[in-house]
Every structure is written in structure tokens, then in C-alpha cells.
Symmetry: C2
Subunit: 428 residues, 2 copies
């Protein structure tokens, strides 16, 4: 089996005006879809956060891939490292999303190769990663502070004909009551049993109030998480953390850097979680040294693929770290890959994050993947168990061209609403 | 694909009178061979160090395996843990060989499942572990102090008709000249480029003299290793280590325990290696804390299988540990598994240990596996690339029954030569 062709397609998907520490989501989120084709005429799919830089890097990677056997992941990775050079941990950046290029590129390619391998041998991807540790992968309700609006061409406008979650999704959520209403609508629609609020948006005490309102509304047995995306000082993190002891399941990246996280962890009796201070294998020694977190949020897009994520899981077991999963705005290829990965990891015991309810478009045949009582049920179909809807892909690619966005920049979007707004690495 | 049958066969293979810190090899080394059969009528092979306890545990594991799909390694492992309970690191024991039961059992089963998976999908095992990082796996010449003798029914006697390495293998090696002669004969016969001496047998300075004689004979570019199996004090380890700076590629387990190894490592300018103080994932935090070694000798029989060994490799990369591979007396199933594993690990950059040249019997069709200029060339045949010779297996099982050995006990053998001999955890 040899790779004969590689198709790389940047797409734009409608995204509502969601707020976070780095600003405001644009009306479209960018993803890049990779399709790898072999001489057996089967194809494998991968998906990663989109940007012109990532698309260009994937285009460059094509030359490394052509002629290779998709089972030869070590050779493919060696070829990519030879082409691009090794990438240090420093390039992650201060934004909530990871900005390293090579891990994105390798993740997209590796997932597509696993999809190919699974299709070639008639096995779901989970079976190539050790088999099912579980047959259902629980996801969490991922709440956002947001302005009114549906995103896309509607921007801050709404579709008056929308119903159910599609209607609720359009509403503003800028205070505890709005957050609780959003949570109820999302949990009703998808069956999620755990709830995460993307914080770092409102003054910290308001966000703590929102978490307490969620506990009040959902009861003490619903796991709750708050993620200020590292823009709180150590002092603020400790003060708010103290307020939220007994409220949060975990406290995600209240402050920036492993040393600071360690200081918060020693002072606050809530497990700390991260996808910001420990985001690569190069960060693990520092994580151990500083005990910067209790739970690592894996993300195969940023840790270098599915195998690397399984290896991360072993490191978590070895050092007594819990394991959960991080997400960005995405479509069904990433959701399927996340679910197969999570199903294969015995110690991934937390409900995973997903932005998926905020998106409405798809590139996979049959349209949007379904949640069953808050979980993705693992398919026994070969590979990722999905097929590419080429018409939908073409339409979302046209949307990418039409929208004019070339990379994610939440600050620019925020400045359209709040002139002069600037990102601050530590805001409160 | 479902497991329908499991055959567990203890065997005894002829082993010469090799010396080590724990005594003397018996005339036979014990291994247990597992054959797992599926409803597709294909079989997979595994091999582990033999003992009645291991054979009994594998027999118990049969009930966990029947009806399972060999791709469902997580479910199989969970079933085994449920049956046997989790096993702590403490049970390894002080002997040069690892005495934990569950890792043996799981390793044997997992290797057989990988063999099955490879055969089922028409791919070599290496391709199910990420593909070839290399197509040849270098092994090292594994020297022993030894008494004259061929082992087996000949015991300390020799076969006068033996030629080449089979003749050289019979000779005593009890001083530097004998060690050098053994090294020359073994390197000539197999093409090995690295040399390891099993130490902990003679007074430490004599062993250092032997290493210096090897350097004199083979030149400064031949990597040399000495393994006293942890029976030297910290002081002795440092004193001898100082003598061997510039002589050794690595210094394996001179002393016992992570703290002591760390102390030796700080004092001696040679990389330390271990398969005694850091032998399980539970030992990794202590390894980091004490910097007990620079190189970990993996062994899939003791780390819990092939996947666990790949995960260990990631931990080694993450914490700046080198990676090599440990061995016991074994036949071709283990050699094939070791080679496929080593071929799949990019950072396994040291020549691996193997006792294989000391054995003369086989259970695989075609007889003894060959080394090509010191390396095992990775086969592209499905699975491990070997087939079971059932007549040979039956013969070696009869030999097991006839020899009367039930577990490895090098002290008892030693006492036959040196009455009253006792193992000492720290001898010098």
C-alpha cells in the first residue's frame, strides 16, 4: 500500500460570537482537511485547526508522503522532521489555542494514516490503538460567554426560524443566568453530564458566581469545570479557587506557567488541569518538577497524533496525573478521531471537551455526528467510521475563500466590538 | 476474530554453565511457550521465562482469553488485572532476572496477540507498532564468565565434535584472556559490534581488567559494557567506575537501588544503565528523582509487552534517558519479538542484549534464526515472521519434564560447585 495522492482543503465553518481570554471568535472557524489516497484507491481523512501556514506546511508535507506506506508512521514522522526540523515547546504561544506547526501537520497526517490502516485491514481505529477500553466516550457541555448571534453570514444576527438548540445557541450569555440557560439547553439537547465554562472573559468573581449558579442549577453531583485560559494572577487564582472549593471538579489553567500553576495547586484544594502550561513532552519534566497540574488535557492535534496521545496517557498513569481531553471548533473527522482515541485509553476517565455543539456544518456523509446521552458511541466500521461528503467539503472550501480569513485572530474580532481591545497575558 | 484455544508449553533448553552474581546457570534454561489459536484457525506465539508459577498463571489466564478478540488488548489486560490483581514493583526481587508474574503473563499473551494481529492483516508486527524505524536491529556480544562445559546432558562436559562457535562456547572463561577469547569467537561467529560482559562474578578489579583487555583487543571504537548485577557497594562501583572511564560505553547496574545508582552516576563519568533499579513504570518517578541511570534497558517480558515498551521509549525520550534492551536465555519467538519491537523504536539506539548465541535449540521452523553482521534483519512476513516447529516444541517439552527443574535457581546450581555458596545482595 503506497500513498499516491494527498488532497489538502482549507474550510471555514460557521462559528457563533463566542468570547474567550484572547477575544472573540470570528463568524467562521478555520479547519484544514487532509485526504490521503493510496494505490489501493482507499482514502484516509485528517482534520486540524486551519491557517494559511498550516495549509502551506501540509502542502509541503505532500512530497514526504507520496510513495510512503501509511503503516510506516515512524518513517513518515522522520521524513517530516527532516523537512521541517524539530519544533521546540516554546512555539505554543500565549493564546488559548496551540500554535505549533509540526504537531498540527503530523497529527493531521497520522490520523489520516490510521483511517487508511483501519480501512485497509477492516478494523476501527480504536482497534489499532489497543482496542476498546470503553464503547462510549462521554463528552462535556462546553459553555461560552457569548454575544447574541449565530455567526457566519448572520454574524451577531439570529435566524428567527431556528428551533431547539439551534435557537438557544444564538442567544447571548453574559451573566450567570445566561450561562445557566445555555447549560440547560445544551445538556437537554446532547445529554452531557459534565459542564465546562470557558472563562477568562468576565471579572473573576462574576465567573465564580456563574459556576456557583451552575452548581445551584445542576446539583452537587454534576462535575463542573472553569477555564480562565491562564489570564489570572496567582493571587486571583487562589482567591477564586478558594471560593470554588467544593464546586469544581477541576480548575483549568487559572494562571500562566508551570511554577505559577504549582503555587495555585498548593494553595487551593481543587485538582488543577491544563492544556496551556504542559502541552508537549518537552514540558513534562517541568510539570513533574513544579507539580503544575493534576490533570492533563490531551489533544491529539497538539501532542503529535494518536500514538503520542496514548504515550502521554502512560506518562499520566506513571506520574499520577489524571487525563482529560481538550478541543477547538471542529467537524466530524476530529470528533471521530477524538472518540476513537479516548475509547482506547483506559485512564482517560474524564468527560472530554468538544466545541462540536457550536458548529452546524459537516464534511462527513450523513451530516452531523450524534451524541447518545452525552456520549459518542464507538463505531465498528473500518477506520474512523466516516466517509467524506465531497459536495459539503467543496461548499465549505468556497466559504473559506469567500470569508477572507487566513488565520485565527480573536483579538481582531474583539476590536470590532471593543475598539482598542488588547490581549493581556495576565488580565486580572 | 475470537480466541478459541490456548496452548501453554513449558520447555527446557540447553544452557552452558554461565556464571553471574546470583550463581550459576543450570544445564537447562526454562521458557514457557504460549500459542493462541483463533476461530480463523490462525495462531500467535509468545515466549517468556519459564517457571511452574508462570505456567500456572498462564493456565489461569486461559479463561480470560477464550472468546476474546486478540485486537482487544485493553480488554484482555483489564481481564487479567481483574483476575490476578495489580502487581506492585516490589516483587521484582534481588536476582538478575525479574520475578514479577503478571508482567510475564501479559507479555507472553500480548506478543502472541500481536503475532495473531499481524497474521490476520498480513503485516509484520513492526508495522503494528508504528513501522520500521530501522530494518536491521543490532545486537551485542553477551559475554559470560563460565566454567568449561556445554550444558544439557553434557553438563560441564564438552562435545569433542563441536566446531566453530559451538566449540568455542564450551570453553571456560574465568580470566581476562578467556573473556577476550570468548568475545573474539562470538564476534567472529555473529558479527556483533558491541560487547557486554556479565560481571558480578569475579573480584571487581579482575572484571575491570577484563574490560581493559577487551578494549585492548577490540580497539577504542568497540562499545563495551559491564554488568555486575548490582552486587557492588557504592564505593566499589565508584572506584571501579573511575578505572573504566574512557573504557565503557555504559556501566550497567554496578550497585543496588536508585539512590545508590544516583550516587555512582554523580561520581563516575560513564553513563549508567539499568534493568534492576528502574524496571517498571512505578519506578520511573524515583528514577527521575534520583537520576538513577542514563539508559534504561527495556525488556518487553518485564515491562508488560510491546506497547508498554513503546511507551517506555517515549518516557526515555521525554526525560533524556537512552534506551537499550535486556535479555535472558531465550529461543526464536522472543528474539523475533525483541527485533520487531526494537525496529519500531526510533530512540532505541544501542545494540540490544541477547543470550541467543548461548542456546542451540529452537522451537521455530527452519531452526536457529540468523544474525547478519551482528543484526537481525526484520522480516516482512506477517506477524513475527516465524512458524512453530511442533516436533521441536514437543522434544523440548519432554526435555523440560526430564530435567526436573521447576524454576530458575542459580544459587542451587552454584552450591553444587561451591558448597555453602550463598547469594549476597552486596558482595564487594
Amino acid at each position: 500500500m503506497k500513498i499516491t495522492d494527498v488532497h489538502i482543503t482549507p474550510i471555514a465553518i460557521t462559528d457563533p460570537p463566542l468570547l474567550n481570554a484572547a477575544g472573540l471568535h470570528a463568524p467562521y472557524a478555520l479547519r484544514t482537511i487532509i485526504e490521503i489516497v493510496t494505490d489501493d484507491n482507499i482514502y484516509g481523512l485528517g482534520e486540524v485547526p486551519g491557517s494559511v501556514a498550516t495549509t502551506k506546511a501540509l502542502e509541503e508535507a505532500r512530497a514526504v508522503l507520496i510513495g510512503k506506506d501509511p503503516f510506516q508512521l515512524n518513517a513518515i514522522q522522520a521524513g517530516l522532521h527532516e523537512h521541517f526540523g524539530e519544533e521546540g515547546a516554546a512555539a505554543r504561544g500565549d493564546t488559548p489555542w496551540d500554535q505549533r506547526r509540526i504537531v498540527h501537520v503530523y497529527s493531521a497526517i497520522e490520523v489520516a494514516c490510521f483511517d487508511l490502516m483501519g480501512k485497509a485491514v477492516g478494523r476501527p481505529v480504536v482497534d489499532l490503538l489497543g482496542g476498546q477500553a470503553r464503547d462510549r466516550v462521554d463528552f462535556s457541555a462546553y459553555l461560552f460567554y457569548k454575544h447574541e448571534g449565530a455567526g457566519g453570514t448572520l454574524g451577531f444576527g439570529t435566524d428567527p426560524n431556528a428551533t431547539g438548540w439551534a435557537a438557544a445557541r444564538q442567544k447571548a450569555a453574559l451573566d450567570p443566568a445566561g450561562v445557566v440557560a445555555q447549560a440547560k439547553a445544551m445538556c437537554d439537547a446532547f445529554g452531557f453530564k459534565s459542564i465546562k465554562l470557558k472563562g477568562g472573559v468576565m471579572p473573576p468573581d462574576e465567573e465564580a458566581d456563574a459556576m456557583m449558579a451552575l452548581q445551584e442549577a445542576f446539583g452537587p453531583d454534576t462535575p463542573l469545570r472553569l477555564d480562565p485560559n491562564a489570564i489570572w494572577s496567582v493571587e486571583t487564582s487562589i482567591r477564586i479557587g478558594k471560593r470554588l472549593e467544593g464546586v469544581l471538579e477541576y480548575y483549568e489553567d487559572p494562571t500562566r506557567g508551570q511554577e505559577n500553576m504549582g503555587a495555585v495547586g498548593r494553595a487551593v484544594n481543587i485538582p488543577l488541569a491544563t492544556n496551556m502550561c504542559t502541552t508537549s513532552f518537552a514540558n513534562i519534566p517541568g510539570s513533574i518538577q513544579h507539580h503544575s497540574e493534576d490533570i492533563i488535557l490531551s489533544d491529539h492535534h497538539f501532542w503529535g497524533g494518536l500514538r503520542a496521545s496514548v504515550e502521554l496517557a502512560r506518562i499520566c498513569r506513571t506520574f499520577g496525573r489524571g487525563l482529560s481531553m481538550h478541543s477547538n471548533s471542529h467537524v466530524g473527522i476530529s470528533l471521530a478521531a477524538m472518540a476513537h482515541l479516548a475509547a482506547a485509553i483506559p485512564n482517560l476517565t474524564y468527560a472530554c471537551d468538544t466545541h462540536y455543539p457550536w458548529q452546524s456544518e459537516e464534511v462527513v456523509k450523513g451530516g452531523r455526528l450524534q451524541f447518545d446521552d452525552g456520549a459518542v458511541v464507538i463505531s465498528n466500521e473500518p477506520g474512523l467510521g466516516i466517509e467524506l461528503d465531497r459536495d459539503a467539503l467543496a461548499k465549505l472550501h468556497q466559504q473559506y475563500i469567500a470569508c477572507g480569513l487566513t488565520e485565527r485572530n480573536d483579538a481582531i474580532e474583539m476590536q470590532k466590538v471593543v475598539p482598542g481591545w488588547k490581549f493581556e497575558a495576565t488580565r486580572w
